[in-house]
């Protein structure tokens, strides 16, 4: 399923840094990863930046 070409594409995508759309060094609006994964090993792949918007009352 993951031929070499896809692996390469993956590597390139993966090397892209996470977003840099906030300036506030102490911004803490997005969820804490393990917390949002609710007791799973740390993963932030499914996190979204919440500095602007994302005001749902639901954690999940």
């Amino acid at each position: 399923m993951l031929p070499e070409v896809t692996r390469m594409r993956i590597k390139i995508i993966a090397k892209k840094p996470a977003c840099s759309n906030i300036d506030d060094e102490n911004c803490r609006e997005c969820q804490t990863p393990c917390k949002s994964a609710a007791k799973t090993a740390n993963t932030i792949s499914n996190q979204i930046c919440e500095a602007k918007g994302a005001n749902s009352p639901w954690i999940l």
Partner: protein, 406 residues
């Protein structure tokens, strides 16, 4: 990407200086990708300077109404203590008073939190009112085995937007291997009706969380079977254990890879044909993810994520409950800036020796420090099996992402 481009990127990976490329299409493409920050990007990731508790795991119960054989809290659950409503309120007040941001997150955890239902309600009722006076928004979740989940509890959870994380390890045979009741009887038939109730009444704000182990290594079948039963929100995690017959070894890695790949194909098929499904670890958003600073801060344990146990002790996270050397303080004597600094510095990508050069580092940040401690004896040494599985899982998630984007 054609094979020429593939060879070129491989050489760049191996150290070829892209600026030494001869003029032409390839050079233009590579330099373009660099200037857009897509490849070879360098980011600075400063550590947060301030004490910044943002999310709390309230371990409201050291008691449980089940006796799962792999329970990580079994040491703590022996004495079966429940958190008092007063303690929960003090913990919430401390968090709301000290959180630097607007959003504050809380998970009710155990043991089994429904056994301390009055404490859960006291914490929620207090926080709703108190947070208004401090201009904060508190969001709740509860991790439960669903055995004692009543309609009254579900109504209250709906009214207060309490997300539910429901434990189930698969269909009957797989679930009942480890998830058993106090008297040793299987739990599947007892918990399923409550789980299906949640699945039927909620669009969002819940998922079923399973654990797979050596004995249930074909977990993609479990996920697919649950999905076919109408459970659309799912997350499955590898067990972290040293027990033989439960723990994974290197030889299991090819099977685990096949399992994620099989699940990824099923997932893409569902998404492409409009069948609703959410597998937590395949839900990836590369465009709107958290900033680099957040990514490098990892899970935040001990820095922005803390746990409080029924005896009012504060821990770096729920997994450290009862690990005396890791106790950060108590609600009466809360952690100081110095204590925070210790963890903010340690639980950070740059503190984990093997991680900063890893391709997955923005998504993993050096893994779970509790698992690192348990398996490698050092919170800064990535747990080897976890590291391998993390990369496999992320590759599958990236494949899903690229398939669904096209």
């Amino acid at each position: 990407m054609d094979s020429e481009a593939h060879d070129l990127f491989t050489k760049i990976e191996e150290g070829l200086d892209p600026f030494s490329l001869p003029p032409g299409e390839a050079r233009e493409m590579v330099l373009g990708l660099i200037s857009e920050g897509i490849i070879l990007s360098k980011v600075d990731y400063p550590r947060p300077q301030k004490l910044s508790p943002k999310s709390l795991c309230l371990i409201v119960s050291h008691a449980c109404n089940m006796a799962c054989t792999y329970c990580s809290l079994s040491k703590a659950t022996v004495e079966g203590k429940l958190m008092s409503p007063e303690t929960a309120i003090r913990a919430m007040k401390w968090l709301i008073d000290n959180a630097p941001g607007i959003k504050v997150d809380v998970d009710f955890f155990g043991g089994e939190p429904t056994l301390a239902w009055n404490t859960v309600k006291a914490a929620v009722d207090f926080s709703k009112e108190y947070s208004k006076t401090k201009n904060k928004t508190v969001r709740f979740s509860m991790s439960t085995n669903a055995l004692g989940l009543t309609d009254e509890m579900l109504d209250y959870c709906d009214e207060n937007y309490i997300s539910l994380i429901l434990s189930l390890d698969g269909p009957k045979a797989e679930n009942d291997r480890c998830r058993v009741l106090k008297d040793g009887r299987p739990s599947f038939d007892a918990v399923l009706p409550n789980i299906m109730k949640v699945a039927q009444r909620r669009q969002r704000g819940w998922y079923v969380r399973g654990t797979y182990s050596k004995g249930t290594i074909n977990f993609s079948d479990s996920v697919i079977a649950l999905h076919k039963m109408g459970i659309n929100n799912l997350a499955f995690e590898p067990v972290v254990s040293n027990v033989s017959g439960v723990a994974f070894s290197k030889e299991d890695i090819p099977v685990i890879r096949e399992e994620y790949e099989k699940l990824a194909r099923y997932y893409v098929e569902c998404k492409k044909t409009g069948v609703p499904i959410k597998f937590y670890h395949f839900e990836m958003d590369l465009e709107n993810g958290p900033c680099a600073r957040k990514s490098a801060g990892g899970c935040g344990a001990g820095a922005e994520y803390l746990a409080v146990s029924p005896d009012e002790k504060i821990w770096p996270c729920h997994q450290f409950d009862t690990e005396k050397d890791f106790c950060l303080g108590t609600l009466g004597d809360p952690p100081t800036q110095t204590v925070y600094d210790k963890y903010t510095i340690k639980n950070h990508l740059t503190g984990k020796r093997e991680c900063p050069d890893c391709w997955a580092s923005y998504f993993c940040s050096g893994g779970c420090i509790a698992s690192n401690k348990l398996q490698e004896g050092d919170i800064l040494l990535p747990y080897k099996m976890g590291c391998l599985i993390q990369k496999i899982r992320l590759e599958a998630a990236l494949w899903v992402y690229s398939e669904l984007r096209e």
